[in-house]
Amino acid sequence: MKVQPKNVIVYILVIVLLTVILFPFYWMFASSLKPIEEILTRNPMLVPIHPTLSHYIDLINPAALYGGWERGGRFFLIFIQNSLIVAGGSTVISVFLSVLGGYSLARFRYKGRELIAGSMLFVYMFPGVLLLVPMYELMSKAHLLDTHLSLIIVYVTFSAPFSVWLLRSFLETIPVEIEEAAMVDGTSRLGAFFRVMLPLAGPGIVTVATFSFITAWGEYMFSAILMFKDTMKTVPTGLAMYMGYQYIEWGMLLTGSVIAVIPVLLLFLPLANLFLKGLTAGAVKG
């Protein structure tokens, strides 16, 4: 390939774009490895001079309960546990609902089908902040404040409709003949669904699951109004609890951030291509 001046410009612009997007994450990571003297300085170095894992150890070590970062050491693992329960629970329910709903919208012809599909997208657009007050009232009446279940219910509400929409566009790409062939061979619709459709829909289901998990893992607003006890907080509200306005323990918070990002990247990066395909297929169609 010849090197053309136009190509050089493209490469330079791509590098600039990627630097602007990725540098802040590098900076978070680098800072989390710096000892406190290298953090609290007017002249920060681009790389940690004396890298240390001390923030990580303090954050995870239960013995830090009465020392160091207030109560943070002990609680951080609980935040992670809460987030895993809430994100995991809402992902399972969301996937279940979207497999049923997506299959219905993709495979049957009936009245109101397009209307329902469209309203799924509309619901996804519906701003959660407008439901802040009534959602709190609802959970309070149902005695669900301070429970994992309340957050799972809320997160499914906001991820299931879009998941239905997303999965439908996946399922529509699977030729109906494959399923029919299985049914001709004497398999029931249910059997054909489990043996033929589900395996083929695997990538779509994985995409939907990733979407639901990431949404729930990072959600702050509802967690902030539905969880009161420190031991019930999720990673976002837990970290926010330590973001005071006068004094901030940067080392510990940035380390907490790195840990909060890890599951998201582990899930997202391997699936990114699939995820983007599903997302954009839905959008371009819409």
Partner: protein
């Protein structure tokens, strides 16, 4: 068996529909109801006051209009930046170059990161005395280290800084969607215009833009609704401050509802925002359709 298979598609959708109804439609209606009452702390409905909450907000409450104005600046600022850079980024990543797929994946990362992390990273980078941004600026001689820029602490610049942070986060999403739209354009169109000797700009104006504008319009509406209602990033980063510089309507809902416990007022703000969004969407769709004709 026949009846079962006819109702099957509805049965499959039923759980999702019920879920959505119970958790979106019902709460929304109860918010509408609350907005006509005088509920505090949300324990009881209080007494029926008709439109009093709305009247108070619209005609007696300076804070409401400050937040409304901030919301408008916030929304259009974000949309402006994200459209321009989203389009630019998409055109860039649509070029052929090595590591193109990897770049596309990396670009979207800010979008999947938890908001609280985004907020922390930027508060850290923009920290006036220890942040990397001011360190670079004073190293480059642009800023006097004894008079550091305040960014999020400055009443005049906090809104602009917040808009830039949020655009940094969501432009990648715009890039990816616009990129998907670009790839639906058949290459033959460009080839035939090459034969006609069209310039790059002409090709963009006559082929690219008209073909992606329906998608731009659709994404634009989504982005408008989301940005207008965005709560977490602003709340976590500035708490609406300094001096209400970044207090938008969603923050006002939160403050009224969960810090001051004026539940009915918070519900009334939600209803006003909802009506505003409905009216805006209708006007927007009309214009989009008219342009499409």
């Amino acid at each position: 068996m026949r009846i079962a298979s006819r109702s099957l598609p509805y049965l499959l959708l039923l759980p999702t529909l019920i879920w959505v109804f119970v958790l979106i439609v019902y709460p929304f209606l109860s918010a509408a109801q609350l907005s006509f009452y005088s509920s505090k702390y949300g324990v009881t409905l209080g007494e029926f006051v008709g439109l009093k909450n709305f009247y108070k907000l619209l005609f007696e409450d300076d804070m409401f209009w400050i937040a409304f104005k901030n919301s408008i600046i916030w929304t259009f600022g974000n949309l402006g930046i994200q459209t321009v850079f989203g389009l630019g980024g998409a055109l860039l990543l649509n070029e052929k170059f090595r590591a193109r797929n990897a770049s596309r994946t990396l670009v979207i990362i800010p979008w999947v990161i938890p908001t609280v992390v985004i907020s922390l990273i930027w508060r850290w980078m923009l920290e006036p005395s220890m942040g990397i941004v001011n360190a670079i600026l004073s190293w480059a001689g642009i800023m006097n280290p004894d008079e550091p820029f305040l960014y999020l602490g400055s009443p005049s610049y906090a809104m602009l800084v917040m808009i830039i942070i949020n655009s940094w986060r969501f432009t990648p999403f715009a890039i990816v969607l616009i990129l998907a739209a670009l790839q639906t354009i058949p290459l033959e169109l460009y080839e035939s215009s090459d034969i006609d000797g069209a310039s790059r700009l002409q090709k963009f104006r006559n082929i690219t833009f008209p073909l992606i504008s329906p998608i731009l319009g659709f994404v634009g509406l989504f982005a408008f609704v989301w940005t207008f209602n965005l709560f977490d990033l602003i709340w976590l980063t500035t708490h609406g401050g300094p001096a209400n510089a970044t207090e938008t309507l969603p923050l006002l809902i939160y403050r009224r509802g969960f810090a001051e416990f004026r539940t009915s007022e918070a519900a009334a703000i939600s209803i006003i925002m909802f009506l505003f969004l409905v009216v805006f969407s209708i006007i927007y769709f009309r214009r989009m359709l008219r342009r499409a004709e």
